[in-house]
């Protein structure tokens, strides 16, 4: 199959030009058809001027010569130049029709893979699905890079969303100073740090002092607001910190509250008693396990049976 891809464009344009200048007998028949068509429907608007322009520009541009590598085409180019001059003579031109097999134009690699997939022993017709799913190596690299980029952006966005309350001036995504430390603290906690960076170990007297100071500050703020008739938010309820530790003396009950010579059971206590067998089988006070010493006064933690 001799490939003459550069020629056919110019050849087509030539035929168009010839059409313009003096219609050959073949055009008469076309004219008849055209008239008939126009009688039936709307007239066809022809744009021959534009076509000629295109052909001119195509012929002018010379750089396609450099694309042709085979020597055969070089001689053809020279010939092209000659025929360009003769163009005005309305000489009948040879139209080059290239017939290309549709099966031959697929890329060879895919064909090979498909062939391999089809001609192996398995009874299946799915060859193209498999072959197309195999990515090209270059493409793979590009996709990997894009994936990494996307992941980076994703992470930045997540962090921004989580730490946005730290950013007073939301102009920089990488916080500095105090904000940076706070953000760092948040991230560490997210990753599983046990305690915050800001939870420091200090003497109890200091902590009490800090708490007392904070409480007095708040109290002062509220008092002043009240005096000035400003409605403030409700004070956050400070829960009684019993931390789940039950207060009992020696020989106290493991459940309920013993006061005034009576054991008072709350609803929760009742519920926990009822659900004990199913939930915490062999937890409780050691009982069956025979290690009574351990189960003992564990409070909530040991009763949970976890």
């Amino acid at each position: 199959m001799v490939v003459k891809r550069k020629r056919d464009t110019s050849v087509v344009s030539r035929s168009k030009k010839a059409e313009e200048s003096s219609p050959p007998p073949a055009d008469n028949a076309q004219d008849i058809f055209r008239k008939y068509f126009e009688a039936q429907f709307e007239p066809i608007e022809a744009a021959p001027v534009k076509a000629s322009e295109v052909s001119e520009s195509e012929e002018d541009d010379e750089d396609y010569n450099s694309e042709d590598l085979d020597g055969e085409s070089d001689s053809e180019e020279g010939w092209d130049g000659l025929s360009e001059e003769e163009e005005d003579d309305d000489e009948p031109k040879v139209e080059v029709v290239e017939h290309k097999d549709a099966s031959a134009d697929g890329d060879e690699l895919m064909q090979k893979q498909a062939r391999k997939a089809f001609l192996n022993g398995t009874p299946s017709l799915d060859v193209l699905a498999k072959s197309t799913s195999k990515p090209n190596s270059e493409k793979d690299k590009e996709e990997d890079a894009a994936d990494a980029d996307n992941l980076k952006h994703d992470l930045a966005l997540q962090r921004l969303l989580k730490e946005s309350h730290l950013l007073d001036s939301a102009d920089d995504l990488a916080p500095t100073g105090k904000n940076r430390l706070k953000a760092l603290d948040l991230r560490m906690q997210e990753l599983g740090a046990k305690t915050s960076l800001y939870k420091q170990k200090m003497p109890d007297a200091h902590r009490r002092g800090i708490n007392a100071k904070a409480a007095s500050k708040d109290e002062k703020r509220r008092r002043e607001a009240k005096e000035n008739g400003i409605v403030l938010e409700r004070p956050s309820k400070v829960s009684k910190s019993n931390n789940g530790h039950r207060e009992r003396g020696v020989g106290g009950s493991s459940i309920g509250k013993f006061s005034g010579g009576t054991l008072n059971l709350s609803k929760q206590d009742l519920f926990s008693m009822k659900s004990t067998p199913s939930r915490s089988g062999r937890g409780g006070r050691g009982g069956r396990s025979g290690r009574g010493g351990r189960g003992g006064r564990g409070g909530k933690g040991s009763r949970g049976g976890r």
Binding site: A102, A114, R115, F118, L119, G121, T122, P123, V127, L128
Partner: protein
């Protein structure tokens, strides 16, 4: 069970293989008489039928066969289908297990294509005790389609084996063509080599309800040329595509060029002499519909030669179109396989839409009669519902629910 019941009596060599398969699957003894009794020159069992008996002997355990002197009477008492677990190897010539494969040699006077053996073997394989692994080799293996009407091994792989998927068998099913061969001179012999692996054994095939033929989605094919120029492939493909492409744009035909197989042909001067055999070319086409129905066509060059590849390509394309035009969900070549598997299924009614021409085939009618004789309930046949321009019928087949005897024991 088989010992108590009297043998089922059949006559003539028609459907012999299928009767043997049914006998093996149901465990009934068969007595087949008048095998080519009227032929003065070649009475009795033909070489390819004997080869099949050898194959059955290799893949089963405990089968007994008795052949009369003239070969016109065969009594077959089936055993268990064991697959390739037999380490002892089969007796007789050329059968031995090696590497888990049962090695089956076909004699050089074989005129049938390998699909003649493969399709019945495919029916036995699902009910075997162990995975069925058979290596076909020897001077009689013809992988292409033959003038005797057998399809090519490629078509078995692409048009018959995928059907087992619909019955729930899909794992480890392989059919590898190690060496290709067309029929040799006068259509006798070849030199091919084919590996058949069927590793998905089941108790009972699934009940099948296939009543929507769909529309042809894609066409695949293999053009093969053995020992002749590969340009024959290109010419066949070109012509076939010229016909098929306007109808189905998703058409791919692959080309496989193989050298001719060499067979030892010792003579007086040179005991190591070899000769080429099985030259030729051919085309196998498979069309798949949107619902997974498969239609295949096969044409190969005749052993006498003299047919241009363009004609082969054209014939094959037209044959494919004819097969598709017969309608239904199953091609004529696969109908008996499908119906037999449905009969072997669980005790439930399976339905299958079949073209009128396909079921009117004498072989299918004979199959129905044979099945009835083996104790299977009759088929229910009614016209297909919906827009049914081809006049397709729906065949209702009740399974026997016996299934895999070897599997039950294991």
């Amino acid at each position: 069970m088989a010992t108590q019941q009297p043998p089922l009596r059949f006559t003539s060599h028609h459907n012999l293989l299928h009767r043997l398969v049914l006998s093996t699957l149901t465990g009934r003894t068969v007595h087949i008489s008048q095998i080519r009794a009227s032929s003065p020159t070649n009475p009795g069992l033909a070489p390819h039928e004997i080869s099949f008996l050898r194959l059955i002997e290799a893949v089963t355990n405990g089968s007994q066969m008795e052949i009369s002197y003239t070969g016109t009477i065969l009594v077959y008492k089936p055993g268990l289908i064991t697959g390739s677990s037999t380490t002892s190897g089969a007796s007789g010539t050329g059968n031995s297990a090696s590497g888990g494969f049962i090695r089956q040699e076909l004699p050089s006077n074989c005129t049938r294509g390998l699909s003649y053996y493969l399709i019945p073997l495919c029916l036995l394989a699902p009910f075997a005790k162990a995975p069925m692994k058979v290596l076909f080799t020897g001077p009689g293996v013809i992988t292409s389609s033959t003038p005797t009407g057998d399809m090519s091994v490629d078509s078995v792989r692409t048009a018959i084996l995928p059907l087992f998927n619909q019955f729930g068998m899909f794992n480890n099913v392989e059919l590898r063509i190690l060496r290709r061969s067309n029929p040799g001179p006068n259509g006798r012999g070849g030199g091919g080599e084919v590996q058949f692996v069927f590793g998905h054994q089941i108790r009972l095939p699934k009940t099948l309800h296939l009543m929507n033929p769909g529309r042809i989605k894609r066409i695949r094919g293999v053009a093969y040329s053995v020992g002749v120029s590969g340009s024959n492939n290109a010419r066949m493909i070109e012509t076939a595509r010229g016909i098929l492409n306007p109808m189905s744009p998703d058409t791919y035909i692959f080309s496989d060029v193989a050298s001719a197989p060499l067979l030892p042909a010792p003579d007086k001067n040179n005991p190591n002499a070899k000769k080429k055999i099985g030259l030729g070319f051919g085309l196998s086409l498979v069309a798949e519909s949107s619902t997974g129905c498969l239609f295949s066509a096969d044409v190969a060059s005749p052993p006498s030669g003299g047919e241009p590849p363009e004609d082969i390509g054209k014939k094959c394309a037209f044959q494919l179109l004819e097969t598709v035009s017969k309608g239904g969900c199953v091609a004529p070549a696969a109908a008996s396989t499908m119906l037999t598997l449905m009969t072997m299924g669980s005790e439930d009614v399976g339905r299958l839409q079949i073209g009128r021409d396909v079921i009117a085939d004498p072989n299918i009618i004979q199959l129905a009669r044979d099945l009835a004789k083996f104790g299977a309930p009759g088929w229910g046949i009614r016209d297909a519902a919906g827009e049914n321009e081809n006049g397709d019928v729906i065949v209702s087949v009740v399974g026997r629910g016996i299934g895999n005897v070897g599997r039950k024991v294991a």
